[in-house]
Every structure is written in C-alpha cells, then in structure tokens.
C-alpha cells in the first residue's frame, strides 16, 4: 500500500473511481506476501503488483468490475499448468486476493 499512496492521491484529486486489490493469503510458493497491493482506476491505469506479473492482467479485469458494481470480492489464483491458458501462478502457489472500491 505504501508505494501506491502518491498515485492514489493523484487519482482521487482527479475524481477517478478506484479499486484496490490486496493479497490476503498465500499457500505454497508465491512471490508476494499478504499485504502486497495493486490499484486500478476507472480508466484502466494500474499501480503496484500482487504477484511476479503472472496474474496482474486478470486482476485488472476483476478490479474494473469492482469499480463498475461497487461490490467487494475475494478472488483466488492457483497453479496454471492444468489448464494451459488459464491465468495462474507458474510457481505452483495459490494466492487469495481481496478486491474493493476505495470508498472507505
């Protein structure tokens, strides 16, 4: 969250709607610990990261839906090998993310 603050402030000043995704749990191997965060604004601009770049694209899609609906959600990404084109972590771990609008 620390590294997102300047961009979040800038977006807020412009009146942009924002969703924040945070890693809340990690099973097995994974690059980022609970607390790692990324934020997406209504224009699709992105700051921060929640993995080594494996799932960020899918998180943007989820975050834009959260901005649109205003509804919070938990999303899980697991190992990607069993479904060749599914989004997941190549390192074999599972991460759980919590996504919510920045409305608090």
């Amino acid at each position: 969250m620390r590294e997102l603050l300047n961009d979040l402030d800038r977006w807020q000043k412009k009146g942009k709607k924002i969703a924040v995704a945070r890693v809340i749990d990690l099973e097995g191997s994974g690059p980022r610990l609970p607390g790692a965060a990324m934020a997406v604004n209504e224009d699709g601009e992105v700051v921060g990261s929640v993995s080594g770049g494996c799932v960020e694209g899918a998180v943007v899609v989820e975050a834009l839906e959260v901005i649109e609906t205003g509804e919070r959600r938990t999303v899980t990404f697991g190992y990607s090998d069993d479904e060749a084109f599914a989004v997941g972590l190549t390192c074999g771990g599972t991460i759980h993310l919590f996504l919510e609008p920045l409305d608090w």
């Binding site: 191997s29 607390g35 409305d103």
Partner: protein, 267 residues
C-alpha cells in the same frame, strides 16, 4: 487536500507517510464484508467491524500483530468469539520502518545508505568528525549525526530491535570498540563490522579486553558482508544487505541459486 469520502484511508495514508505504526482490519467474509477498523498503538481506533465485541477482540489481536509487523487472516464469531468462523478478518500491519545506523562517514557509507533506502530502512549516519558527517555527503540519510557512535547508541539503543541493523564502517579501534560494545547491549538484530582480516583480528583482541564474551562474538558479523567478491562501495553495500536478509531468513550460504534447490521464495 484529502478526499472527504475516504476518512479511514486518509488517516491510514497519513500514518504510513509519517512512518507511524498503524494497522487496518477488514472484514473479508461474513456480515459487513468490507467493514474496517483502523488501529494505532496510541490513539483510539477508527471505524467498526460491525459489533462492539468484535471490535474489542480484533483491536487487541491487531496490536499484537502490529508489534511484530505481521499481516494475515483471523476468524471470529460475530461478537468476537474465539474458535468460531462467522467472520473472517484480514489484518494488515504497517509497522514503522526498520532502522539502520551506519557508523563512519566514508564512501561505503553513502553506497550502503542508498541500498538500505531501497530496502525500506530509516537510515542514520553517525561520525564524530563534523567535516565528514554532513547532509551534503549523505543526502539519502534520514538523519546525519555528528557524535561518537557509543553516545548515539546510549540515546537510541533502547529503540533498536530484531528488525534493525547497526553497521560499523569506521575500522578505527578508537571508534569501533565502544560502538560495538554499546551495540551488543541493545536488542538490535544485526551488527556488522567492516575491516580486513588483519583489522578484524586486532579488533577482536581489543574487544576481548573490553569484556566481550563468546555470545557477543557470535552476534558480530565481522568482517561484514557475504563472500560475493565485492570490490566497489556499491558491491560491498549489496554484500552487506544480502547478509542482513540471509540472517533474517535463516539462510546461511551465499550460494548461487543455480547450485541449490528448494523454494526460491521461502514461506
């Protein structure tokens, strides 16, 4: 100018920027998903997770997690009951940054200060010589102190803990020995001391005379840093910070990843 529609976020952001410890508890599952409690050690909490009972129990748990800088999920009953799972709460700790005290105002200090800032340390440079210990020479430092290292440690030693580091780069016995003995009196997690093998042997003798025992020597990383073959101040700074990371994670050998197996990211 902060946004009035995000009062909790504003307080959280201000505390993080001021490097004050703060934690955010968020209901991620259960009634009131998204409800939040913002907790700081000294002020009243802000917000609510839904019930006064839940707030009270979570606040207590959050203060414990914050003290050790941990983040994770905990489960409670709707009124904070233990051994129930009606509510899942994600507790995120924003501990104050760890401190690194660097003694000796030399080129190695500037390089180490820069790498330490990348790693998130609050960096203090200390040297007794006012012409060397200047903010101009160490713009990356959060604080530059002109004083004897042992006197600075007498002032701030109590605030040092397992996440913090003391790096003694003076390699002059007159400064090193009192700095090291005072650092050993603190709870600091890492004490590294620079010097050649010869300097190290000579200094060890002086330290022994000053009353440092085997347990004390066991804590000292001397000569400082991992065996990376570092030459320049910048490379040396990397070898020192790599040693600090390895000490924290309990990995001892600076071997290349190519020659080891096991998880790259340790849990």
């Amino acid at each position: 100018m902060s946004d009035e529609s995000t009062p909790l976020y504003n307080v959280l952001a201000a505390a993080i920027r001021a490097e004050e410890p703060v934690a955010l508890a968020t209901v991620i599952e259960g009634p009131n998903t998204g409800a939040k409690l913002l907790v700081t050690p000294d002020d009243d909490s802000m917000g609510t997770l839904g019930t006064a009972g839940l707030d009270r129990v979570v606040e207590r748990d959050v203060l414990g997690e914050l003290a050790s800088g941990r983040s994770g999920i905990r489960h409670y009953g709707e009124n904070g009951e233990a051994r129930e799972e009606a509510v899942s709460v994600f507790i995120e700790s924003f501990a104050a940054p760890p401190q690194m005290l660097i003694f000796g105002a030399v080129d190695f200090t500037a390089a180490l200060g820069r790498v330490a800032k990348i790693l998130g340390y609050r960096v203090t440079v200390c040297d007794a010589r006012p012409i060397f210990a200047t903010k101009q020479r160490f713009p990356m430092a959060d604080q530059v102190v002109v004083d004897w290292p042992n006197r600075l440690l007498e002032d701030v030693g109590e605030s040092l803990g397992p996440r913090d580091a003391v790096c003694v780069l003076t390699h002059d016995n007159k400064f090193d020995v009192p700095a090291i003995t005072h650092a050993l009196d603190t709870e600091v997690g890492y004490i590294g001391v620079m010097g050649s093998r010869k300097t190290h042997d000579n200094r060890s003798k002086r330290l022994r005379e000053a009353g440092v025992d085997d347990a004390g020597f066991e804590r000292l990383r001397s000569p400082i840093g991992l065996d990376l073959g570092a030459r320049t101040p910048e490379e040396t700074a990397i070898s020192i910070c790599a040693e600090i990371i390895a000490l924290r994670t309990g990995r001892t050998a600076p071997r290349p990843l190519r020659d080891t197996d096991g998880a790259i990211h340790q849990e």
